[in-house]
Symmetry: C2
Subunit: 304 residues, 2 copies
């Protein structure tokens, strides 16, 4: 080994060491070695349909999914809150804070009174179809609080917050509302390390961040769902990672719900369900020495 | 024949004659003989689910159902209004004015702003589960108008109004709001002749009433759905009759929706669909010389 190689090796080792020190707290706080590969397998969109609820609860009970988030304004939310009440300590349900109603023939509106959040709504009183950046921020905050308070009043104590379709991270101002919710309710907010400054962490009391997030994109879907997730699991790095998925049964309800919406549609969600309830997935998690952790564990370790 | 028998016969004939004269207008106005048996086969609850929508639209297109009413506050209403816009002259859709959200895990709330109609809502902002008689009447009227205006704004011109679960006919005061809606929007309201006085007809400008209404009850369901409807069709009297049904496919969505709600549940609605899309039903209608008429025809004859 010449000097040049030795120097590169030293730099590399220092880099890895720094990385492990940075991550040390989370892994060791949860009882793992500092270089553990921690993973949350997270199902979005609970509440949106009976199919989504049934498939997701089953993927949690029998498959490898270990966390989920709930859309309070959606029609089937009571099915989830009733489940949460019946299983108060075992579920890991956060709130999928919602500002959009993106499906063609199946719609929902705000939890707050419509006349208090007009900028969030279209002419029929439903949320806008896409994320918008021209929303009144006070109204956004009012609606987010209404969704959070509704969860508590319906018997669901959220373990974390995240954002449906990423609407709450579209602008710096929206992201501030998002982080503020975590701070006010003392609940971890899903945010990627690379997108938050130390200053923001301090300002909004953000105590835990995710290192890497993986979520299937159309190209991955087209080239093979199992292939994509296999590569993600085999390539998982030490630190805290999160895989975002959408688990539902491809039935008539989902076909109608996602009509003209093939991306993240009925077939897509069935394939997510299939992979994350497969034996192949369980074997991969074991072979890759991946430690599944929940937002509940993170909340208890960092906030409670 | 002795005098007594002759007198009875005369009285009977006079009775029938009076009945026919009373009905003469409707039947003849629609181009039928005065003693015609007019029938509306009416599917309730459109908008409530994808299954209900798909089954009802098919039962209208291919079966014997010829009219329906739509619940504006329900999640799938856009699927119906889009259909109505695409078929502006052929559908016969009224509004199933809604004041309740009766299912266990699947809920809806008002079209008006929640803070403007608090007496109509439970602690979570959904309509109450059952019909209530202690509602604020101004709020009821506000919500009914909001539902009606929402229909027009979404491209649906209702052909009639009726009342989900009969909530709007639970008290005299609620019934007045109901009749007032028909008067204000110049749209026929489904009301039975026996339950409305001439004074009320005059006061609220009620120009057309239904003579007989048939809707399956639990005993009929248990003793045989096809038997029940066969008897109804075979026994239909001259005048304007209406059969209220609920057509949906018995699939996962409906099973979840009507969980713990076997009456008017998934099996019930599939059986309604089966009978009213059967060849047996078509044959019975023909053999019994029943004339299917729509609310649209009645609206055009009496209000336009």
């Amino acid at each position: 080994m010449n000097l040049k190689h030795s120097t590169i090796l030293t730099i590399l080792c220092l880099g890895i060491q720094n990385f492990l020190i940075a991550q040390e707290n989370i892994a060791t706080k949860l009882g793992y070695s500092p270089d553990a590969k921690l993973l949350i397998i997270h199902a979005d969109d609970l509440g949106v349909s009976h199919s989504e609820n049934m498939a997701s609860l089953r993927a949690i009970a029998e498959g490898s999914v270990n966390s989920a988030s709930v859309m309070m304004p959606t029609p089937w939310v009571t099915e989830v809150t009733e489940y949460a009440k019946a299983n108060p300590d075992t579920h890991d349900f956060g709130l999928h804070l919602t500002l959009s109603s993106e499906l063609k023939n199946y719609k929902w509106g705000p939890v707050a009174s419509a006349n208090e959040v007009p900028s969030l709504l279209n002419e029929y009183g439903f949320f806008h179809e896409a994320c918008r950046t021209d929303l009144n921020l006070e109204e956004v905050e009012k609606e987010m609080k209404a969704q959070i308070e509704q969860a508590y009043s319906m018997g669901l104590s959220p373990t974390h917050f995240d954002t449906h379709m990423g609407c709450l991270v579209q602008t710096e101002e929206l992201r501030e509302v998002y982080l503020k919710m975590g701070q006010q309710y003392q609940i971890p907010v899903f945010v990627l390390n690379q997108f938050i400054s130390q200053e923001q962490k301090d300002q909004y009391d953000v105590r835990v961040v995710v290192d890497e997030m993986y979520t299937m994109q159309p190209d991955d879907f087209n080239s093979g769902v199992a292939d994509y997730y296999t590569k993600v699991l085999q390539g998982l790095k030490p630190g805290l990672s999160l895989i975002l998925i959408h688990t539902a049964y491809d039935n008539e309800e989902m076909k109608g719900m996602t009509v003209d919406h093939p991306l993240w549609g009925n077939v897509w969600r069935q394939k997510d369900y299939d992979f994350f309830t497969s034996e192949a997935c369980k074997t991969l998690l074991e072979e890759s020495d991946i430690k599944l952790v929940t937002w509940r564990q993170l909340k208890e370790a960092y906030y409670d």
